[in-house]
Amino acid sequence: MMLKTENLNTFYGKVHVLRDVCIEVEEHEIVCILGPNGAGKSTLLRTLAGLMHPKGGRINFKQMNITELSAEKIVIYGMSLVPEGGSVFTNLPVIDNLILGIYSQQKKLSKEEKTIRLNNVFDLFPILKERETQKAGTLSGGEQRMLAIGRSLMSKPEMLLLDEPSLGLAPLVVKDIFQALQDINKEGTTILLVEQNAKATLEVADRGYLMLLGKVMLSDTSDNLLKREDITTLYLGKKRQFSNK
């Protein structure tokens, strides 16, 4: 088991957001979490990545209890979050954004290893190579999303968490990004993906969880979820008609 949460309960002040959330992710899987706005999907990823701490419950990552670890530490253990919207360092050039991706391991890495990782990212997203010296703030939304994914990959995480990587992007770019995620997964990285874009996501994911109002409502394989037309239309609604294809 790569990741397992037990009854996570997370609050914003007094607002109780995550309610007894239990999820499991096996090694090499792509697992998605679907749910409408405000379901608590981002809160869940932020809790896993250590940006927030749960009031109750437990997070196990590679058999290790990481519930109380800070975000700065968790990335060292091999879990990396690509936050909502990407959150690149807009004031720094693309190349520096990528290099900062290995900040947590800088001392342990050889020059060659750094170059290899950089080239892997450039192979995956060739546009970043072209934009290498440009400030990240001048990139398009899609390019920033690719940069954020690339920055996370620089730390060679065993598990990648992504918060709505397709949000607000044109269908063609979404396709590219989902393709990249599949490639990353084939290289051995476990992926936990939050999305509202249900159909496109279920097509790449092995399994999915459906969240509603801070609770996990159901979990099943992607194939089964895709068949249940009622769920995708009921909870995840019209959006997919625009953003998929």
Binding site: L51, E72, P83, V88, F89, T90, Y103
Partner: protein, 288 residues
């Protein structure tokens, strides 16, 4: 106005302008890291002067060593300043950081008066000898030191921020602290580094200006106002901006003091500060 006049204004203006530039860079670094203004910056400059003086007169160190030791002590003081007075407020508001910095300024000011003296103390120039003459303009030897050391500091700082991983991490953390944490950067540590740097800058400014202004005394407030005015004029969010703004202020100040009235020397900075805040609060040269 003759050529030698223009040259004289440039030399005189750039001398004090350089000192203001170092102070303005200190403001800039702290502003970038915390969005707050460090009101103790001026006292850190004064502290640099008196520490350098003690290193030479009490410890009998030669000037280069005294300068170097002062630089390090300035950084150490910056570190403890952040740890004790800033860290507890980092997650509250900018205002509480500002208020803490005012408290530290008062503590430093009084400590200096108690430990050293209330009045300014003589500080020998870095090299002996009369003024240098160049095409009809006169320049103190200390001016050369001031401009040279400032230029070296500006270049070193620029290299640090743009070519070292730590420098980039400080910029990244200032830009997006949450994303910084996700790659393993501790924003607290980056703020700490910023205070160490601004402490070093204060120490440098204090030691190089002391032969002109003397060490200690009530210099701090004025030099802080001028560094701040120069920084605002150029744009506090840009390192290039604050340096250019401070140099420009130095030149304007020298021009007015020489050709209009010496009495306006100190007023001009405040006047420029007000005008800049009213007309162009983002600064003349900010475009980073």
């Amino acid at each position: 106005m003759s050529f030698s006049n223009v040259l004289q204004i440039l030399v005189g203006g750039l001398t004090m302008g350089s000192v203001y530039a170092l102070v303005a860079l200190g403001f800039h670094i702290i502003y970038n890291g915390t969005r707050a203004i460090n009101f103790a910056q001026g006292e850190q400059v004064v502290l640099g002067g008196v520490i350098a003086l003690s290193c030479m007169s009490t410890l009998k160190l030669p000037l280069p060593l005294a300068f170097f030791l002062t630089l390090i002590i300035g950084g150490v003081i910056g570190y403890f300043y952040e740890r004790l007075a800033i860290r507890p407020n980092l997650e509250t508001s900018e205002l509480s950081i500002i208020i803490s910095s005012i408290a530290v300024a008062i503590i430093l000011q009084n400590s200096i008066a108690v430990i050293w003296e209330k009045d300014p103390m003589y500080f020998p120039p870095f090299t002996k000898g009369g003024s240098l003459e160049f095409m009809g303009a006169y320049m103190l030897r200390q001016s050369l030191w001031i401009m040279g050391i400032t230029a070296a500091s500006v270049v070193a700082l620029d290299r640090f921020f743009h070519q070292t991983l730590l420098g980039k991490a400080i910029l990244a953390s200032a830009n997006n602290s949450e994303a910084a944490r996700l790659v393993g950067i501790s924003p607290f540590r980056m703020v700490s580094c910023s205070f160490i740097l601004s402490g070093c800058l204060g120490a440098i400014a204090g030691s190089i200006v002391a032969p002109l202004t003397f060490a200690g005394g009530p210099l701090g407030t004025m030099i802080a106002i001028k560094g701040f005015a120069g920084g605002i004029l150029g744009g506090l969010s840009s390192s290039r901006g604050v340096v250019l703004g401070a140099l420009l202020l130095g030149i304007l100040e020298f021009f007015i003091a020489t050709f209009i009235s010496e009495g306006y020397r100190d007023a001009i900075a405040i006047f420029i500060l007000l005008i800049a805040l009213m007309l162009k609060p983002e600064g003349l040269f900010a475009q980073e």
